[in-house]
């Protein structure tokens, strides 16, 4: 088959599945919905694999599919750029998506929105593929917003839950703040490069490196590249949940678990990372932008990790670890180690999807109780989930030989060698982050799978009664809607079971094969992909021209290659490094705290109450945003409406003129007396005045 047709097939196959399952969701039986969507994604995954082999053989492609719009001298096209970077993303996206599709059969089996759910996740796959396969900024933005839309629909999938529909609105709006910067960045690209086509922009970038913009009155001005890259990165901060635009991601856990794995861990949230790597020819031209990137990434990596420590909702722990890992990837970008960022993106996609799906499996086993304080000892009841979770956790904390080790360790090494301003702080953050990650990951692991069995107790607190859950905030937001009083649920809604948990005496159970099979299939790459891929991806010529690094200005990768002596040696050597011991210390400490002496964390919580409050309130970002931005906007709107429109314009000007006309009419009416002699007199005076004027003029 012609390759161009194959390229088209990759996004269109899931789209067709989504359309069939979506338009006919009320008439087709469930098996049709999951068969067509899974078939679509499977075709897409297989086609991606064929394309991967073709690209590895050296056949890249850059060309239009159709002309979207022309205007003036500008052409906007829909088109594909198929190169090493693209095809890596295509494989990751389609493979994880396929796993999630299969898993969903089990996870959503009781849900009345089964067909709709399959339609959404296939639509997501289409959107994400359009994003990564784009050869221009316009289509990138299309994919960017389309994944945002599907994310919105999926977070709010259980649309009767107040917390879910609060979370999805929040996610959409926070992402829009990012997109606001993103579109301005795209605007600067178009205005200065005259095109939105990647290849043409990248080719022209070096000659525009010296251009400055007079954005802030007179003075030196801002370098075009700095402004453009920072604005584009603001978009990435929204999508990839970097501080301070991270606030939507933890709340997005309101969505069903399969999409937390697919969208909010493996693929969509990494779109920002992908985008910056794709734009490497631009970012390489601005050290200021790279510094900005590395600092934001470092803050996210460390401070979001801290929050993972105190979470009790199993999905939220994983969510904070995702935030922290996205911070690691961002740090790698800032250090000009784009290939390392993509490498970590890939390993993370596997082990984090695994951790989320395993968490979902636990949730099923626990009858939709998500509070890890109610779990414990699950390894006896859910052996496959247990082992795969362990694999995922080991990969996450960077245990030598596991996938996460190779990528995370490479990031840390790269930061150590970077000389970009901010790299010193970033190095501290990623090192400290190693300990924190190990600590909270194994805290969760021990509380869930080991120790005393705490489930099935009548008085056990439930996941969503937990005071650190967002119920409080959403109730707060709900009050501005006037709907918070109404919590009436439909008895037939399956997710009502969400609040149930295990009854006393009931035991958790292992989940069906459609759930455990994806766990196993994701566990395999979580172990081996790092070992296999590190050499070609980071130090070989894997990415070729798809990622550009200015090796003289930012020689990080060269130095990294210098220290690299093969994947085995790297892992073996790791045992002597601080990174490894920090992680080991984290695991040991969490074992001691949560299995051995559970009284100690309780005592710490008691003593350092202020710290706990700070973390429990997530550094007060949500409260600030809610009060300042949401409240401020409403206040401003009301002021402009009542004061401006109703008060000034209508009240004074419009009705004022009406009153004036009314007053004038009253005055004029005085002349309408109805007496002939009044009129005659007035006429005489008028004639007299006119004659006087005429005479004087002459």
């Amino acid at each position: 088959m012609e390759m161009q047709k194959l390229y088209l097939l990759v996004p269109l196959a899931p789209l067709v599945g989504a359309i069939i399952a979506g338009l006919f969701c009320r008439v087709i039986p469930r098996w049709v919905a999951h068969t067509v969507t899974i078939a679509g994604v499977a075709i897409s995954c297989f086609a991606s694999f064929l394309i991967f082999r073709d690209v590895m053989a050296g056949n890249t492609y850059n060309g239009p599919v159709y002309q979207w719009l022309t205007s003036g001298n500008y052409r906007f096209e829909v088109g594909f750029l198929i190169d090493q970077l693209t095809v890596t993303m295509m494989l990751v996206v389609t493979f994880v998506s396929l796993m999630v599709h299969i898993y969903t059969i089990g996870y959503m089996q009781d849900d009345p929105g089964y067909n709709r759910f399959f339609s959404y996740i296939s639509l997501f796959t289409f959107s994400m593929l359009m994003l990564v396969m784009s050869n221009n900024f316009m289509q990138l933005f299309f994919g960017w917003e389309a994944v945002g839309l599907v994310s919105y629909l999926l977070i709010g999938f259980w649309y009767t839950r107040p917390t879910a529909i609060f979370a999805n609105l929040k996610a959409f709006l926070v992402n829009r703040v990012g997109d606001f910067g993103f579109i301005l960045g795209i605007g600067l690209v178009l205005a200065h490069f005259g095109t939105l086509d990647y290849a043409a922009v990248f080719a022209k970038a070096p000659e525009l490196a010296g251009t400055t913009l007079q954005l802030f009155g007179k003075g030196e001005g801002v370098a075009l590249m700095t402004a453009t890259c920072i604005l584009l990165f603001v978009g990435a901060m929204g999508k990839s949940a970097q501080v301070p635009l991270h606030v939507w991601l933890p709340d997005s856990m309101e969505g069903p678990t399969p999409i937390s794995a697919l969208i909010h861990a493996a693929t969509m949230v990494t779109a920002g990372i992908f985008m910056v790597a794709r734009m490497s020819p631009l970012f390489e031209l601005s050290d200021t932008a790279l510094s900005f990137v590395i600092v934001i990434g470092a803050v996210t990596a460390l401070f979001m990790g801290f929050l993972g420590i105190i979470q009790n909702d199993i999905k939220r722990v994983v969510a904070y670890s995702t935030l922290s890992q996205l911070g690691y990837m961002t740090v790698a970008l800032g250090a000009s180690a784009y290939s390392v960022a993509i490498f970590h993106l890939m390993t993370h996609a596997f082990f984090k999807a695994l951790l989320f799906l395993a968490a979902g499996s636990v949730i099923i086993g626990m009858h939709h109780d998500q509070d890890i304080r109610n779990m414990g000892g699950l390894r006896r009841y859910m052996p496959i989930t247990w082992i795969t979770s362990l694999v995922g956790s080991l990969a996450l904390i960077g245990t030598p030989f596991f996938a996460g080790f190779y990528s995370k360790d490479s990031i840390i090494e790269a930061v150590a060698m970077s000389h970009i301003p901010g790299a010193g702080f970033a190095y501290f953050a990623v090192m400290a982050g190693v300990f924190v990650t190990a600590f909270y990951s194994f805290r969760m692991y021990f509380l869930v799978f080991h120790g005393e069995e705490r489930f099935g107790r009548a008085a056990a607190p439930h996941g969503h009664a937990d005071h650190s859950s967002p119920a409080k905030e959403s109730g707060h937001a709900g009050s501005s809607d006037g709907h918070d009083e109404d919590h009436g649920h439909h008895a037939d809604d399956a997710h009502d079971a969400h609040h149930h948990g295990l009854a006393p005496g009931e035991k958790p159970h292992e989940t069906p094969w459609v759930v455990t099979l994806p766990l196993v299939l994701l566990a395999i790459p979580s172990v081996i992909i790092g070992y296999v891929a590190i050499e070609p991806m980071l130090f070989g010529d894997y990415f070729k021209a798809s990622i550009f690094v200015d090796a003289t200005a930012h020689p990080v990768m060269k130095e990294l290659a210098h220290h690299f002596h093969g994947a085995f040696a790297m892992a073996a050597h790791a045992l002597t490094t601080a990174v490894f011991w920090l992680a080991a210390l984290g695991v040991a400490l969490s074992w001691f705290f949560y299995l051995k002496r559970p009284d100690i964390p309780a005592a710490i919580k008691e003593r350092a109450g202020w710290l706990y409050t700070l973390l429990d309130n997530k550094y007060y970002f949500d409260k600030f945003n809610e009060a300042f931005f949401a409240g401020g906007a409403r206040l401003l709107g009301r002021g402009l409406w009542k004061g401006g429109d109703a008060g000034l314009i209508d009240g004074i000007i419009v009705n004022g003129s009406a009153h004036f006309v009314g007053w004038l009419a009253t005055m004029v009416r005085l002349f309408q007396t109805g007496h002939i002699y009044h009129y005659a007199f007035t006429m005489i005076i008028g004639v007299f005045v006119l004659m006087t004027l005429w005479v004087t003029r002459a």
Partner: protein, 494 residues
Amino acid sequence: MSGTPLLSLAIWVPILAGLVVLATGSDRNAPLARALSLIGAVAGLLVTIPLYTGFDLHTPAMQFVELKPWIPRFNVNYHLGVDGISMLFVILNSFITVTVILAGWQVIDSKVAQYNAGFLIMSGLLNGIFSALDGVLFYVFFEASLIPLYLIIGIWGGPNRVYAAFKFFLFTLFGSLLFLIALLYLFISSGGSFSILDWHRMPIGMTAQTWLFLAFLVAFAVKVPMWPVHTWLPDAHVEAPTGGSIVLAAIALKLGAYGFLRFSLPIAPDASHELAGLVIALSLIAIIYIGFVALVQEDMKKLVAYSSIAHMGFVTLGFFIFSPLGVEGALVQMISHGFVSGAMFFSIGVMYDRAHSRLIADYGGVVNTMPKFAAFFMLFAMANAGLPATSGFVGEFMVILAAVEHNFWVAFAAASTMIVGAAYTLWMYKRVVFGSVANHHVAELSDINGREFLVFVLFAIGALGMGLYPQPFTEVMHSSVDELLRHVALSKIQ
């Protein structure tokens, strides 16, 4: 086809159909009136199709021109013609008329013939505005089109309809008077010509241009409407029946914007450049100020009315950037807004027909009882928020990009709509559609029927088709827009 007076057909077919419908008289013949109206509206749409298929992309000149003397004594002619700027609006208007007739099918049960006839006649008059090339002819259509809309609001409107109809009428009449004075001035100073195209070519001094520009500005700003002469629009929408709102938003708001392109820019190019800053400032105020006002509206129709004003801010902004991307983006935004705001008002109408409330607080959890409706409403809400793949994105995207080229901070201010526009639209959607069933009114709602489904599909084809493939819409504009900008770049001062 070259001999067929297509534009006359576009104007007179709906008007004649309207008169025929009117002749059916009382409501005893309502089914007949409805059927005839639909036939008339569809026929009106069909006669406009050749305007697109037979359109010559390569000339900026007027096409399908008809020229006959009307009042020879004052050199007034029945002079029609369309170019790439106006042609699409004739088709859009005829399309909207079909949706409006369908939208009122079961809902309007008193004075059916008169209601439908009003819309058909108005449709013809609006086509007249977009194709008139004679100043007097334009003015006659411009003013005459007010009458049916005034009657529709005043007769089939809500409880406060008389106030709203008056406010609407007085605001626009106020603008029209200045417009008339400007036309008379042009007639005299051109040595007795009412031809708009002559006026385009005629040299005019700076002072006169400035006055003309300001007179046009007031006339058109009221129609657009621009801040601060916008306050009639929310009232008019709130009181208007659904069909009235659809036409008002989809077509009537476009008249002012069209006037800028047909009169202000080509007749007073120097003043347009001189005063562009003023218009851009007013446009940005419309985008930001009105966006925040929309956020706190409690009435859905008011909210969408305010959002229309904000969207029209993009149109006037795009025009006064004076770049092809800006002007075409603005034109795209106008057409898109026709589909999207029409659909938004129709959506609200669908709910109003069932629950008899437009207040957000009276709803909640509509998706539970009206899932099909919720899906369509989501599509149009997203289009209203400018999501890619919908038409709402294309115009905003083009204007924002053009604005970056013009001035970064103008673009910065305009792009804020990305956040605010999404906030007011989706917050409303959340409160109305999502959640548990809020009250027994919502519990008793029935999902959309076949007729409503059809109207939604028509709008959806417009909104999605234009979003996925805008090229067919913009390619017809290129020659005319390029020519307009070339013309505007030349000074008329001698």
